[in-house]
Every structure is written in structure tokens, then in C-alpha cells.
């Protein structure tokens, strides 16, 4: 066992699989709702879990464009799946919520904001790409001109327990986006799952004091140098086995300079305009507000809900939508995500998690669409020279 003063930010230690339940028990005792991976309806999803038994032990998730299937792993890894079906987004940026209520009493009109306290959540099993996505959403919801108090309250109380990816998925490309697979920032604790024929342990790396407070209550032992070395080797191998790659070199200019490329029409033939890519994207932040009145006219409510640039209503101005075609809407999404985002927020809006590829019912692959546009741009350049 490590002594309490050895468990501090920057320290490395080892938690055995047999003691993993302690992590969840300690989090619960500290008042956290533990949100972690679990299997539900054929996919790994992030839900509130009561104990380690709910984790997807021995589960692998195989992904391809428009396809997701669970399989059995050869080992009993707890975090052996690729990033879950939906990101952590719904827990911080809620699908819908009431912004305020207005009540009429005689001639008086009063406004009240809902006063439900934000839940204190511990997210268990966050991947590097997902932490990068939250960093991007923070810029929108917390650091912008109009901070979102609900997001901020949920975000500030949350504890982030990350896991380094032991393998890459078929639709993963975090290496291209420089967001993973190694967890480097944004987390409180990070685990690396170490499985050997005779041992099953987690290398625990402590990043923050909040993480250290939890770690001090765990039965940790000192990490052996070879365990740290194995964790590094696992990450190196994961980085080498990305299922997809996105060439970002000059991509911003390619997208912004080729708004009339025939590729947009080609993808519009296939795109269902169903909005699934934006709904599973961990960085998409668009939302809309709706005002509704009660039947008696004595009260009204402003509600906020997720919106998507794939919906016709999204660009509706007086007279009609600005982007009436699927072509215009797909172009808007992809150019914003990969190009205009850089102008707006200083970074690409894509973290390379691959969800928009896996969960597109029409199997549209953003990396292939980007490559097709690049070929078009290069051919156009060659034609000019």
C-alpha cells in the first residue's frame, strides 16, 4: 500500500482488478453519481452504474461505416470496447431543458429559472478524444460571450476518470486530429488497463488534487517500472493501429476553396439528412429555444433543445430555409466542423472519435469525403498548371 502523502498529482500507482469495485464505492461515498460504460441494446453506452459488475467486461465493439456490433473478447478487459455509442455530451449539454418559466399574476409577470441543483457526476472510462471534445465544448458553453449556466454547473462538479485506449477502432482517427490515444489533459485520473496471463491491473496516474482525493482512499500499490513501460507500449500500439486517417494538411483551405465541388452533390445523393452525425458528435453544440404557453395563458416556458444543421428549420429565416438542399446542409456541417471551426475557435471541431462514421445509417465516411475533396482540389490545381 502507498501512504497517503505518496498519492498526489503526478504520482503513478497500481490498482488491482480485484480491488476495482473500491473505486466505484469510494466515488459513491464521496457523493458522486457514477456514470460509466455498460451494455444496453447491443451497444456500449454511458449510464449511471451501481457497481463494477455493470461494466462491459470482456466486451469488444466492432465498428465500420454504418455498422456497430458487440463481440466477445478473448480476455476479461473492463474497457476493451471502443468509445461508446454516444459521448458524455448528454450529461453536460442536456438534450432538452427548461431555461426559464414565466408566470402571470394579475398584471404582474415574474420570471424564474429552474433551481434543480446540478448532479455531482463522476465520469468513468473517458477516452482522450472525448476529453478533447469537452475542452472544445467548454469554449462554447463556458468561455464564450454567453456562458450556459446549466452546462457550467454540471461541468464544474464533474470528476473525470479517463482510460487510455488499449486498442483503436476501425473508425478511429484520433492520431490524425492530435487528440489521442494517450490521455494528456482535462482528466483527474487516468487508468491504463494491464492484462497479463497471471495478472489484471490498472496503472493509475493522478493528475489533479480532486483525483488524488479519490485515489488516497483506494488500496493502491507502487507502480513497477515495467508496468509503466507496458502502458506506454500499449498506447504506442494503439496509435499505430488507427482504423482511419484524415489528412488535415491544408484541409481547411481545400474545404473553404471548393464550395462548388461536385463531391457535395455526390454525398447529397447518399445523405439521409437524418442528423445522426451531429447527434453523436461529441463537439456539436447547436441548440434552439422554443417558447410554449400553457393552455390557460397564465404561464409560459422557454425550452432549449439540441438542434442540427441537417434540419431544414435550422436555417429558416423569413421566407424559407437558407440551406434548402441536402448538399448545402452537408457542406455546412463538414466545412464548419473541419474548417470554419478553426477560424471560430482556434482548433478543428473534429476529435477523430469516428462516431459520425459508425452511426451514419447511410455509411458516409467523413475521412473518405475529405479525401475525395482533396483529390478534386489537386486535380483542379493540376488542370490550372
Amino acid at each position: 500500500m502507498l501512504s497517503a502523502d505518496q498519492v498526489k498529482p503526478g504520482a503513478q500507482a497500481v490498482l488491482s482488478r480485484a480491488d476495482f469495485d473500491h473505486l466505484i464505492t469510494v466515488l459513491q461515498a464521496e457523493g458522486y453519481d457514477v456514470i460509466g460504460p455498460t451494455v444496453d441494446n447491443g451497444a456500449v453506452v454511458y449510464q449511471e452504474i451501481d457497481n463494477a459488475g455493470a461494466l462491459p467486461e470482456g466486451v469488444a465493439s466492432r465498428q465500420a461505416a454504418g455498422r456497430y456490433r458487440l463481440e466477445k473478447r478473448a480476455d476479461n478487459a473492463l474497457f476493451g470496447y471502443i468509445a461508446g455509442a454516444q459521448s458524455w455530451r448528454p450529461y453536460l449539454f442536456q438534450p432538452s431543458r427548461t431555461v426559464w418559466r414565466a408566470e402571470k399574476s394579475g398584471d404582474e409577470l415574474s420570471f424564474t429559472e429552474p433551481e434543480e441543483p446540478a448532479p455531482k457526476m463522476a465520469f468513468l472510462g473517458m477516452r482522450a478524444c472525448e476529453l478533447a471534445a469537452i475542452e472544445l465544448q467548454d469554449r462554447v458553453f463556458m468561455n464564450g460571450d454567453a456562458p450556459d449556466p446549466d452546462y457550467a454547473a454540471r461541468r464544474s462538479g464533474a470528476l473525470f476518470i479517463a482510460v487510455n485506449c488499449g486498442e483503436a477502432g476501425e473508425t478511429c482517427f484520433c492520431v490524425s486530429m492530435d487528440t489521442g490515444p494517450k490521455v494528456t489533459r482535462g482528466h483527474d485520473l487516468v487508468l491504463t488497463e494491464l492484462i497479463a496471463p497471471d495478472a489484471h491491473d490498472f496503472l493509475v496516474e493522478i493528475e489533479t488534487e480532486a483525483g488524488a482525493e479519490i485515489a488516497r482512499k483506494l488500496p493502491l500499490r507502487a507502480a513497477e517500472p515495467q508496468e509503466v513501460g507496458r502502458a506506454d507500449a500499449i498506447l504506442a500500439e494503439t496509435a499505430q493501429s488507427m482504423g482511419r486517417a484524415l489528412d488535415t494538411n491544408g484541409l481547411k483551405e481545400i474545404l473553404q476553396d471548393n464550395q462548388d465541388a461536385p463531391q457535395w452533390g455526390d454525398v447529397a445523393e447518399r445523405c439521409l439528412s437524418c442528423a445522426n452525425c451531429t447527434l453523436v458528435c461529441p463537439t456539436c453544440f447547436c441548440n434552439t429555444t422554443e417558447d410554449v404557453t400553457a393552455l390557460d395563458g397564465e404561464s409560459a416556458e422557454r425550452r432549449q433543445r439540441w438542434a442540427s444543421c441537417f434540419n431544414l428549420d435550422f436555417s429558416y429565416l423569413h421566407g424559407g430555409p437558407v440551406r434548402p438542399s441536402v448538399e448545402a446542409r452537408y457542406r455546412q456541417w463538414m466545412t464548419h466542423k473541419l474548417a470554419h471551426w478553426i477560424d471560430q475557435f482556434g482548433d478543428s471541431g473534429c476529435v477523430g472519435c469516428g462516431r459520425c462514421i459508425s452511426w451514419c445509417p447511410a455509411s458516409i465516411d467523413i475521412t473518405e469525403e475529405a479525401a475525395a475533396l482533396r483529390r478534386h482540389a489537386e486535380e483542379a490545381d493540376n488542370g490550372e498548371n
Binding site: G42, L279, L295
Partner: protein, 261 residues
């Protein structure tokens, strides 16, 4: 100020959407306090003469008599809102539009010569001006309340016309098309039901008709890739909203001419 007068009318339909009004239960008293329920035969045989501030119309037009009656309803109504797939798209009975209705009457009735019916089942909007079409088979009661409330206060109803996928993801369901390969009309179906079927592991049946941006040819290719035959594609598109233009046009592309003989 007098309470607005509400009328509820039935045309060719199963009454399910009218039942959605009665199913409001908790809100029904508030509704009755806000509006005068002046004409609603499903609820009461006591009626108050028109004109009416708001008419809710259920059902499609399938008889010469109803084609005249809807004109009268329109004349008596300040605002007219259709409720449900029959009224907005012709309903399941619009399957007759793809066949010869005389063959049906011969097969069903002992004395088909007693039956006076039209060749087609058509939506209300084909006959009169409609102020708002509320989709669904049946309609969603919360949406119904929202439309009545919006019409009462003269504001736009907050009814999203985008696809079921948004509701499916908002409730945290796993996509059945991607995770199980289940044929699902969710990507091209108008939202409103709250994505009930995918939450229970079933593909969307398209009860709310096509969404405002439905890409039907791409959907048909996806259904083919999921193993549906041409006949099965026709069947999945021809249910409660068979005659809604987007579903109708796509199903006609897959309906081989020899099947119609």
C-alpha cells in the same frame, strides 16, 4: 371574453386521434376551462351550433358526401387543424389509391351496389385550406395540446418537422439500424412520437409520415442493403402514410407493373 369554441370532426378514420383528446385526462379539465368544447360527438351528443374558432378534423375523404361535408366544416371554422395520418395523408385506407376500389368492395360486401365510395382516399388539404397539419397515427397528445394552445393564442405551434432520429438520440436509444441492421424509417420520418419503437428495439414504421427533408431514394438503397426485397420496400412505405407524396413516389418506383394486374 367568451371562450373560443372548439369543434372536433370525424371523417374516414378509426377514431384513435379523437381518443387522444379524451386520453389527455390530466389536461382535459384545463382544456374545457380554456375552450368551449362545442361539437365533439365522440365525447358528447350535446352540440352547440357553429361557427367555431377552431376545428380539429380527423379522417380522410372517401365518399362524395364527405367531400361536400368538409366544405361545410371549413365554412364554419375560423381555424382548421387536421389531426392524424388519415386527415394529413389519406390514412391506411389510401391503399385503395394504388388499386381498383371496385375490387375491394366486391370482395368485402355482399351487396357492393349499396356502397357509394370514391376511387381514392385523400387528405383534407386536397379539398380545403388547412391551417396546420398535425401528423401521427395516432397523434401525440402533448403535440395536440401544443397545437390547440398555439391556435388559441394565435402563435406558431412548436412542432418540429425533422426526423425521428433526433428524438431517438435525445432519449438515449441505441440506433437499431446501425447496431442491429434493422430496417428503420426513422431517418426519413417526421418526429413527434418520441421515437417509441426504436426504444423497444423495433425499426420505425413511419407513423408520422415523411419528414420535411426525406431523401427517399437513399433510404430505399439502405433498405435494399439491409436485405429488403422490392415488395418489402413497397410494404414498409405503404402503411398509414402510404399516400404522403414522398412515401408514395418512392413506393411507386419499387412497385413492379406486373404486381398491379
Amino acid at each position: 371574453m367568451a371562450k373560443p369554441k372548439l369543434a372536433v370532426w370525424k371523417f374516414a378514420s378509426c377514431d384513435g386521434c379523437q381518443l387522444s383528446i379524451l386520453d389527455l385526462e390530466d389536461e382535459l379539465l384545463a382544456l374545457a376551462e380554456t375552450v368551449e368544447i362545442a361539437y365533439f360527438l365522440e365525447a358528447s351528443s350535446k352540440t352547440v351550433a357553429g361557427p367555431y374558432d377552431l376545428s380539429l378534423v380527423e379522417g380522410s375523404i372517401t365518399t362524395p358526401h364527405d367531400a361536400e361535408r368538409i366544405q361545410d366544416v371549413r365554412r364554419q371554422s375560423h381555424k382548421l387543424v387536421t389531426i392524424g395520418a388519415c386527415a394529413t395523408a389519406g390514412g391506411i385506407q389510401a391503399l385503395r389509391n394504388f388499386a381498383d376500389v371496385k375490387e375491394f368492395t366486391k370482395a368485402v360486401y355482399a351487396r357492393p351496389d349499396y356502397i357509394k365510395t370514391l376511387e381514392t382516399s385523400t387528405p383534407i388539404e386536397d379539398h380545403v385550406t388547412v391551417d396546420f397539419n398535425l401528423r401521427g397515427c395516432p397523434v401525440d397528445k402533448k403535440q395536440l395540446l401544443e397545437v390547440v394552445s398555439a391556435m388559441t393564442f394565435g402563435r406558431k405551434p412548436m412542432i418540429a418537422a425533422d426526423s425521428v432520429c433526433g428524438e431517438c438520440k435525445a432519449r438515449g436509444s441505441v440506433c437499431v439500424a446501425v447496431a442491429e441492421g434493422t430496417p428503420c424509417l426513422g431517418p426519413v420520418t417526421h418526429a413527434g412520437c418520441g421515437a417509441i419503437c426504436p426504444a423497444y428495439g423495433r425499426g420505425c414504421y413511419g407513423c408520422f409520415g415523411p419528414s420535411d427533408a426525406a431523401n427517399m431514394p437513399a433510404t430505399a438503397r439502405l433498405l435494399q442493403a439491409q436485405g429488403l426485397s422490392e415488395d418489402e420496400i413497397v410494404r414498409i412505405l405503404r402503411t398509414f402514410n402510404a399516400y404522403a407524396p414522398a412515401f408514395r413516389e418512392e413506393s411507386e418506383k419499387h412497385d413492379a407493373p406486373n404486381d398491379q394486374c
